[in-house]
Amino acid sequence: MARDDKPSASTQAQEPAETDARTLGRRMKDARREMAQRRGAFRDARVTAYGRVRQAAGRQLQPITKPLGVFREKIEENRKWAYPLIGILVIAAAALLPFLSEWFDLPDWARRATSGSALARVALFALFALGLNVVVGFAGLLDLGYVAFWLIGSYTAGILTGAHSYTQAIGGAGTAVEPTWSMWMWLIIPAALVAAVIAGVVLGSPTLRLRGDYLAIVTLGFGEILRITANNLDNITGGPRGVRGIPHPAITIGDINIEWGTLLDKKYYWLLLIFVVLWVIAIRMLDNSRIGRAWVAIREDEIAAAAMGVPVVRMKLAAFAIGACTAGVGGVIYAEQVNFINPPTFSIIQSILILAMVVVGGMGSIPGAILGAAAVVLLPEIFRGFEDYRFFVFGFVLVLLMIFRPQGLLPSKRRKAELKGHVVEEQLYAAGGG
């Protein structure tokens, strides 16, 4: 439109009205150009107004923000002891959450949100989100079949605890004794971890060499394959009937005897919390290590990374395997908690929910993954009656986030600089800490 020099709208108006199609077309062009100009002016005005409001608010809030800034600087200066201290405080606060409803008279929605089962669900999904965050956030690989590794973990638990043969026995003739937990069963967690890692490597090694978007669809397919396989292989997985009677865990060492009970038991929350904490520590260390830097390099420019000597495929496989083993571990605890699993549990929507958690919280951000899990699990719990709208809203939010805030709610500094575009080199170096 801008390329041809046409008379402006005002001179057009003085001419006698012509019905000539060409004139009409010209007028429409002019009108459109004027519209575009007005829109631009409006946008500018909006931007200035927004800037002014921000500035004013910033001035007003100075008494609060200034001490906060000083405090933050102090923490940064003494990060060696301040970081672990903050970590311990946060963990302690998180561990005390289920008692809130006993200590205080909480409104109904808060009671629901801090109940043992809701918190256990948050912790479980936080674990999954942390694992997927390594794959999607750190290494930049879109995995849409994450639920597959959860399935592997859960079925490993179902088969190794003997619950599967128990389920088969109920179906047919023969005596059935419901399996109970014995101490060796804690070894199922490492076993599931290994199984999930193997599955991750088997899936990853052919596909990770390919373009990123192929990976997305192959993983999507992989998730479905495993679900269908679990449904079809009657004698290995129990088929559509699933596996029931998976024992609740217990610890018995001498006099100490801790037993985990049914779904509502708060102890599951603490068990999962321990894993979340372990995983946060491990993933933080990984992120700040040579491997973490390799992931960033791959995410930003794979070809350049390869040229610099980063073993691209091996590093991608590492990310995939770490993500997989996280889901495997979570899957075991999930199976023990709900003590019944069947294939429909592991449908595609679960993968997408976990992805939504990672994206909402901020890709590549560890606190973000946990916040995302809490938001996605607890919001429908708090706003009862809106559960039907949940996936609808998540879809909408995913699109909006990608358009307006691709870095998520709690962005990692490094990822923010990258996703927002217009990276100033200085900022990138300043954000190097991740």
Binding site: G212, Y389, F392
Partner: protein, 331 residues
């Protein structure tokens, strides 16, 4: 070895029947695959929301047949042709429109900003989820703000009334071809032919090919890239709409919010099999995938049907990631 022998003899028994089934299904996959391949050609991204574009067509067909014509028993003669044409038109308009909307709201803002590829994929998944659950919510009991959603869809599959009686038209090598299959094959062949001519011989088609080859150079030569991209989505959507209508006719499938998922992922496999970005490749890939799936049924049993296509996808990516005809984007 014995298993493989059994497999071959099982396929041999039903060879022509399965070939017929495979070709009908394959023609539908080919039509959906075109949407993936064309969008990939111009934007180098996988349009994950394409399966929802297909899904909408099943509802458009349901509406045309059940509510506009109020048909409860199979029709014949001119009325049948008229109903089918209206249903086809409604599906094509609904799907084409949705595809354009997806482009406008889920992709264009990201394109303007030059967002990384991961953002496009996530935005597409978001759009897909949004559309699916919008249809789940449209059961006449849910509100968005003050607006009551109409009772169009809902969480359960809704069966579509039969418009056509199934009759045998002719038989070939002992396997009979029903009128529905003939309709699907003829309609698909016609649409694929028109599309091929459109891309190769019209001005807009030339624009699409130019953008696929080199978007920057094309824009410098005066091609309006936005218009080309919208056209691509529209054409892909229209093809998916026609495919949806035919799919419902031949398989007797219901209108359902999740119905797009499997055909969508299979059509994507077909697009990769033929060489993504390659329009004729998508047609070939669709037909081949339909055949492979059909032959797998007597061999492995119907419960493994959906696994076959994923295995094909992984094998193609392993051994020939550029597909059978190669990724000749823009040719």
């Amino acid at each position: 070895m014995e298993v493989i022998g059994d497999c071959f003899s099982a396929v041999g028994d039903q060879f022509w029947d399965q070939t017929r089934n495979g070709l009908t299904l394959g023609a539908i996959y080919a039509m959906i695959a075109l949407g993936y391949t064309m969008v990939y050609g111009v934007l180098q991204l996988i349009n994950f929301a394409h399966s929802e574009v297909f899904m909408v067509a099943t509802f458009a067909t349901l509406y045309a047949i059940r509510d506009w014509f109020d048909i409860s028993e199979p029709q014949s003669g001119l009325m049948l042709i008229f109903v089918l044409l209206v249903a086809l038109m409604a599906s094509m308009i609904a799907s084409g429109g949705l595809a354009v909307l997806v482009e406008r709201f889920a992709y264009r803002p990201l394109r303007r900003r030059g967002a990384p590829r991961l953002s496009f994929l996530i935005s597409a998944i978001g759009a897909s989820l949004f559309i699916q659950y919008l249809f789940v919510l449209m059961d006449g009991q849910h509100y968005i703000g003050p607006i009551k959603l109409p009772a169009i869809a809902g969480p359960n599959p809704q069966s579509i009334p039969e418009v056509m009686d199934t009759q045998q038209v002719f038989s070939l090598f002992g396997s009979s071809f029903s009128n529905k299959r003939v309709l699907v094959i003829v309609a698909a062949a016609l649409m694929l032919f028109i599309l091929d001519r459109f891309v190769r011989q019209t001005r807009l088609g030339r624009g699409i090919r130019a953008v696929a080859q080199d978007a920057e150079a094309a824009s410098m030569m005066g091609v309006n890239i936005d218009a080309v991209i919208v056209t691509t989505f529209l054409v892909g959507g229209v093809m998916a709409g026609a495919a949806g209508m035919l799919f419902v006719q031949v398989l007797g499938a219901p209108a359902f919010w999740f119905i797009g998922f499997l055909p969508g992922i299979k059509a994507f496999t077909a697009a990769v099999l033929g060489g993504i970005g390659n329009i004729r490749g998508a047609m070939l890939g669709g037909l081949l995938l339909g055949l492979v799936e059909a032959y797998s049924v007597p061999c492995l049993g119907a419960q493994w049907l959906n696994v076959t296509s994923f295995v094909v996808l992984v094998l193609v990516l392993l051994f020939r990631p550029s597909g059978i005809l190669g990724e000749e984007v823009g040719h």
